[in-house]
Symmetry: C2
Amino acid sequence: MNNPDLTPDQIIQRLNWRYATKKFNPSQKINNDDWYALEQSLVLAPSSFGQQPWKFFVIRNSALRQQLQERAWNQSQVVDASHLVVLAIKQDVNASDVDRYINRVVEVRQTPKDQLSGLEDAIKGFLQDPPFPLQPDDWSTRQVYIALGFLLYSAALLGIDACPMEGFIPAKFDEVLGLTDQGYAAKVICALGYRSEDDKLAKMNKVRYETEEVLQYID
Amino acid sequence: MNNPDLTPDQIIQRLNWRYATKKFNPSQKINNDDWYALEQSLVLAPSSFGQQPWKFFVIRNSALRQQLQERAWNQSQVVDASHLVVLAIKQDVNASDVDRYINRVVEVRQTPKDQLSGLEDAIKGFLQDPPFPLQPDDWSTRQVYIALGFLLYSAALLGIDACPMEGFIPAKFDEVLGLTDQGYAAKVICALGYRSEDDKLAKMNKVRYETEEVLQYID
């Protein structure tokens, strides 16, 4: 990693290139190699204590997407994009999830379990007595938004368009997709694919506040 | 963007390279060009309706960092890293923030204000009657975690190490940094710099659940 492939300028260029795509080209699909990188961006996204309190549901079926569209302010992105991802939290994260994680650490790192009691106590302690008022589901939701960020960023690097959306009825999505029975709850969705030639928003300037208004040095 | 500079494999490589750095090399600083890209990754990060309900505080001063360390479980990253970023929400986002945003759209896109009433109503409507139970501060916090994701991702691309942290007392940070008076509240912090040669975690396998456990196709 001493010679990264992207310069600081190229990174800024990529981030300026992306935008929340309003109109997708329904006939252009994401290829398998690109999709694999997008999928792995979700899997490899970081989360607090590495807990991964989430699951990502990918919907390609168009009949199902039409049902979801009705529950998402009728937005065309839900049906027109190549892929639709529903980012969900694992509901009511608790000590048993930490146990599962610790077992996974033993498996992946071959660390003897008795060497992990400090880590186990730290995570359980955080969840039981967090340094700020926190509902477990809110905490899991925060983590899901990191994963959303990773997904959007990878898409931008690959030249794939995306539209993250909060304009949908999570309870209805949970119902249609059967998430509640699995113990998950939809929190945010993301359409991915390629912009339509006539998406007017593609040509508009990105609206951001001046850097001095959102970033401040305290020294 | 038809020829992105990174292949899907390179993206996955970068994401595997990064890890939550526990021990930084205190003598290695991020250079200005790299820092500028990190800063702009925060500024350019997407947020719901483009609202940017946030501010990012950068602390380089070591005396101040020592004060913060005591309020962050005494973690060495807070003082040893090159830069410390405190990601904060704007508290109590409301209709006046939407007005400010609409004025910014007029400025950046030269769109006549009367053409933006639909957008204005949509954002105000969402905040007043969201499709899911939502406190404004929780909503703003979710957005901040997207920005955190963008910051971590850019760092990985630049070969810069990072450690996102929730193990700190936000109320104390707000007090020490004077954020409350400005109308902001710290939500998550991130140390950035370069790993120490003897950070054992750098060599350990990344712990993730199997893809099938966290990603599911519903077709």
